[in-house]
Amino acid sequence: MTQQIPLPLPHKVAMSADDFVVTSSNQEATMWIQQWPQWPSVCSVIHGPSGSGKTHLMHMWLAKSHGKALTSHDLLRNEPGALIMSNRNIAIDDAQQIATNPVAEEALFHLYNALKETGGSLLLTAEKPPAKWPVQLADLRSRLNAAPALGIHAPDDELLTMLLIKQFHDRQIDVGMDVVTYIVPRIERTTQALREVVNKLDQAALSESRGITIALARRLLS
């Protein structure tokens, strides 16, 4: 069977507050972000499975707080004073990575203290809550455990529907509601699975130069 390989054309992912879907699964985390700067402590943590919208929430907060996103890499390279020189509000995506790297743990600890001193805020996102991270540095661990941790729960059907539509919208693909309602009850109810299904449909439709229909979804989901 011959098959045309499609060009890996990239697409943009809309990350503003206007693009975020709020349902009961993520309402608490969303409210938390919206309530900044009323946060009760330096550090807040948002945790949830991959693809559940943590990064999106983080970008919303960065826009609101005029903050800056750091990677664990940045932490290793710079001293905390320099990191917060230009910004008192810092977000670190996928912060769990820091655990077990002694240098990174200490850097995060000092960053935490530096932000506490300047009255800044720190937002961490991760798949698991800090209590489940294998943090070695006890001083850091107790600070992270004391930080409010907001979980994003498994997506409900409403969120899955909206996310499915958003994924197609991000890819600028016009699909009918019939296709969306066909897919939702037939896939694993994780945002990860949802993303994979959209990607599969997108690639197949692009390869075969066709639209995304129930017939195509039926073929790929079976």
């Binding site: 069977m1 011959t2 098959q3 045309q4 390989i5 499609p6 060009l7 890996p8 054309l9 990239p10 697409h11 943009k12 600028q172 693909i173 016009d174 699909v175 439709a205 692009l206 390869s207 130069s209 066709r210 639209g211 995304i212």
Partner: protein, 371 residues
């Protein structure tokens, strides 16, 4: 209204405007051409709500006036009149048009001119001119790669924008259907600097292309983020743009393809065309097998049989088998004017770059097929 035109001039104008009019229309007025007669000028306008075309010609106007008449019918009538005929268009009121030429007489129903939609003018701030040859190049080198798949509306056109290439400001046209991509560029004309990137819809591209061959002088282009206007001698086409984001295409143009192959353009095209006769109509797959100095083209089909053809090429890379859609290859080869064409390849599943060895202004990316 009363006016007289020479058949050839009328046919040419009607030919231009009726082409914009859709064959099937749910809104009746969109099937009509708007004719206005003023002193010694006659103008014809048509629209499908996305594109508006307006053409002015000289004519003998006995009595000024305006009306709308069915565009296709009018065009068919004029086309069937004998060459060299004089055509009289008269209307006592705006409900009926009488067309007379020699012994032929036609009466056509009209629709009120007030119903004829007018595209809001809008402010087309960005203005520049291109020669007919340059605009033709931009369109011809890319339009074959436009997508016709409607769900991906943002690929249904040519992306026109400016970019920097080695510190030179260039005007670029890009099109892709997700299987191949065509990119052509030329030094940006004055006035194009900082223009917004726009996606010109397929139909507009094709209408503009038809007019280029008749155009003599430069073509003026004016645009905003929502519309574009092409002004030829007597013809003006204004079009809405595709409201979408063109993908960041640079990211799919490979930079590290290390297997270079050069071949005679025409010999290769002819061989690919011959071998593809065997491939199934749907996939049109042809396999290229490269060894130093040689290329074997082959095709297999369970129904039709198989074919191979050998060509001399300039190639000293590792052995490589890669499949391509022959139609896509021929589309690209057709745009290559010099004797040599170069392929830069990486492996059997990665994008290939195809270029004219004598012309770096156009670049084509082609995705392989799994064969």
């Amino acid at each position: 209204m009363k006016l007289t035109l020479e058949r050839a001039a009328l046919l040419k104008s009607l030919g231009h405007v009726q082409s914009v009019v859709e064959r099937r229309n749910t809104i009746p007025i969109l099937a009509n051409v708007l004719i206005r007669a003023q002193q010694n000028a006659v103008s014809f306008a048509a629209t499908d709500m996305e594109i508006e075309i307006n053409e002015s010609v000289d004519g003998q106007v006995g009595k000024p006036g305006a009306l709308t008449a069915p565009a296709h019918t009018l065009y068919e009538i004029v086309r069937k009149l004998p060459e060299g005929a004089q055509v009289d268009l008269t209307a006592a009121n705006s409900n009926q048009l009488t067309l007379s030429s020699g012994r032929s007489h036609f009466k056509l129903g009209c629709l009120p001119i007030d119903d004829f939609p007018k595209m809001p003018e809008g402010d087309l701030k960005q203005k520049f001119t291109l020669s007919a040859a340059d605009l033709r190049t931009l369109i011809d080198r890319t339009r074959f790669a436009m997508s016709t798949e409607e769900t991906r509306y943002y690929l249904n056109g040519i992306y026109l924008h400016t970019a920097k290439n080695k510190n030179v400001e260039v005007l670029r046209a890009v099109a892709t259907d997700g299987h191949r991509l065509a990119r052509v560029e030329m030094p940006a004309p004055r006035g194009a600097k900082d223009m917004p990137g726009i996606i010109i819809p397929r139909k507009t591209v094709n209408e503009v292309r038809k007019l280029i061959d008749e155009a003599s002088g430069d073509i003026e282009i004016a645009l905003s983020e929502a519309k574009v206007r092409f002004t030829f001698d007597g013809v003006v086409i204004t079009s809405k743009l595709i409201d979408g984001t063109f993908p960041d295409y640079e990211r799919v143009i490979p930079t590290g393809n290390d297997k270079l192959m050069q071949v005679d353009t025409r010999a290769f095209a002819a061989a690919a065309d011959r071998v593809a006769t065997i491939s199934s109509e749907k996939s049109r797959a042809v396999k290229l097998s490269l060894t130093p100095g040689h290329m074997v083209l082959s095709a297999h089909s369970p129904e039709a049989g198989s074919a191979t053809e050998e060509l001399e090429v300039k190639y000293d890379g590792a052995l490589l088998d890669v499949g391509f859609n022959a139609r896509y290859m021929l589309d690209i080869l057709q745009q290559i004017e010099s004797e040599g064409v170069s392929f830069s390849l990486a492996d059997a599943t990665a994008p290939a770059i195809i270029q004219d060895v004598a012309d770096a202004s156009a670049l084509y990316v082609l995705m392989p097929m799994r064969v």
